[in-house]
Amino acid sequence: MDAFSAQHPSRILGGVEATEQATVQRLLESLTIPSDCPRVVSTLFSVRPDSTGDAAVWVWVILADREEDWTLAEVRPLTELIEGALTEGGVRAIPYVRFRTESEQILIDEQRTDPPDGRIERL
């Protein structure tokens, strides 16, 4: 169902970071999103230290467009699903889960200066 394409092969990763990146990729690829959750178009992630030097993983969940913004109550199950999968999968990094809409992500992709480590498309 999912296809992964590395976006930035030239990024230099330490051993721990590279291992963590592979684990995060595997865990996100294997996620099963319940049908009552907002429709996820794709998932982007980056693994790197955060601003205080702690190991961290950013996950941007790209949601289908709709007229009004998605609400916290609607996206919270997705946050819990992702955070739970990462924790249970042995990822010790702090998870920063964020949400964008598909059209917002298209605009970002056009101007992107800081591509993610990975992107998982959901068909």
């Binding site: 601003s51 998605w70 964020r98 949400f99 800081d114």
Partner: protein, 187 residues
Amino acid sequence: MSRATLHGQLLEQAMHLATRDRHRPRMANLRRAVSSAYYGLFHLLVHEATCRFLPARPADTRTLALRRTLARSLAHKEMKNTSRLFAGLSSHWPPWLAPLLGSRGSVPLAIRSLARTFVLLQEARHEADYDISRAFTRQEVRLLIDEARTAERGWRKGARTQEIATLYLYALVLPALSQFQKCAPAP
């Protein structure tokens, strides 16, 4: 959310900035919105922690002065480290704190939620203020602000009166005591 408090005003300002551009939100407004949301939680925690640690009557000017100095001593990184513990994002409880907590899974949800949101917002604030390669979108920012508002509401509506809330607030203050002298106003 109280408009009378600094943290209430900051959270309100965050939502105002995030929603004022109807069609194409300006990046500066989104970034300032994230920053305001973080500082809303920061000032909430600083206020609660210093008031709990140094209770004072309004006329008690000496204690109020001490409280202001203590407020300046609290550091963002130390507050994040403490919040990680109470959020369940770290299991490295300091030896003095672990026995006081009892069962480590017993941090009530509303306190866990505030601590977690503080950690998430602190990082978002750092990106918003310093990392211009990081794009922000209205959807992303509105949800971050909603997280902050929900956490603040949960705190105000009961979490702050729970026993573990005092432990959390003291754990925020205690690392700051070593900085207390440096933050005292010059005579």
